[in-house]
Symmetry: C2
Subunit: 194 residues, 2 copies
């Protein structure tokens, strides 16, 4: 008995539609959060709902796929910060914190997905584990340099980022930058005192 373990290659049109759906979901989730319906995503992508469900068995699966893309972006941000952390470990940590928060503000749905329990994907995921390790590394270096308060905990960071990004505000409007001010205050609180 032979079991087929390799996922069959998608037909060209199916692959194209998959990409359209993913892009549509990304756009809609970023703009309006988890409240978007599968029907709306299908419409935005220009396909039928059936097509959406053929590629992503459940709404959770679709959201998870979009989230994974974001996690990879965060990973890139964190790796960059580590590269820069030789010169100024706190500054590296801080810029990573702000950049990741900004990413969350841009993608409301992703933030909700990571924060809420509903759509929480199991954390046993290579990219997420590595992201956590990178952030831990940034924190360790800044603490070792005496620039960050030593009781800072890695596992508080994701929740904090989610919390702050929920403050709302836009990326561009300087009048509407609650999240930016909150980052500022928070990072001040995290800085080690003389």
């Amino acid at each position: 008995m032979v079991v087929e373990l390799v996922a069959p290659v998608l037909r060209a049109d199916a692959a194209r539609n998959r990409a359209l759906v993913l892009a549509a979901a990304e756009r809609l989730l970023a703009a309006r959060g988890l409240e978007v319906t599968m029907q709306e995503i299908a419409d935005e992508a220009g396909v039928g709902v059936g097509t959406v469900f053929r590629r992503f068995a459940t709404k959770d699966d679709l959201v998870a796929a979009v989230v994974e893309d974001r996690v990879h972006e965060m990973l890139t941000i964190a790796r960059d910060a580590i590269a820069r952390s030789e010169t100024g470990p706190f500054a590296a940590f801080a810029s990573c914190f702000v950049a990741i928060t900004e990413l969350h503000v841009r993608h409301r749905g992703v933030m909700e997905a990571l924060a809420g329990t509903e759509y929480c994907v199991p954390v046993s995921n290579a990219a997420r584990v590595e992201l956590r390790e990178c952030v831990a590394e940034l924190i360790d270096r800044a603490v070792a340099a005496g620039e960050l308060r030593p009781d800072a905990r890695v596992d508080d960071i994701p929740a904090l980022v989610c919390a702050i990004s929920r403050l709302g505000g836009s990326i561009d409007d300087p009048e509407d930058d609650a999240w930016r001010r909150a980052c500022d205050i928070f990072l001040d609180g995290l800085r080690a005192r003389r």
Copy 2:
């Protein structure tokens, strides 16, 4: 033509049921947030759904009633803090901040209601306006004493409290106090630097 402007007095049993419903809603909202259904609230109160709706025309109305109770509690906390603010304006502000956050942690549903747009009740409400004024007063005094950074904004506070309380954690479990640590860090960031 005479228009009846006074709300008619409730019959004794009706008043009792109204109180039961309110208490049940408070309990369930605190424990599980806005996801509770009207049916569950009715069951918890030991009445039929019809009775719930006769007293509170919509779910929003019921939530709003529970929220108003919380706002009054917050008002009490803030007034107490003002009374204590002669001696140590920052400490007064900080304790008020922590106490209100704790209240939010205890009442998940209330926090959601205040933070989310869905159930946001119009802010043109005497108690809320006064609460805002009290917090402004606390901030002004601490800033005037040079103990609080002068760019602290009153209107960031509610959102911050909501954000931090969303971090989760329990009131009692000392292992699970993310919200308490976050308060600590935040207040450190808010303290004016030498």
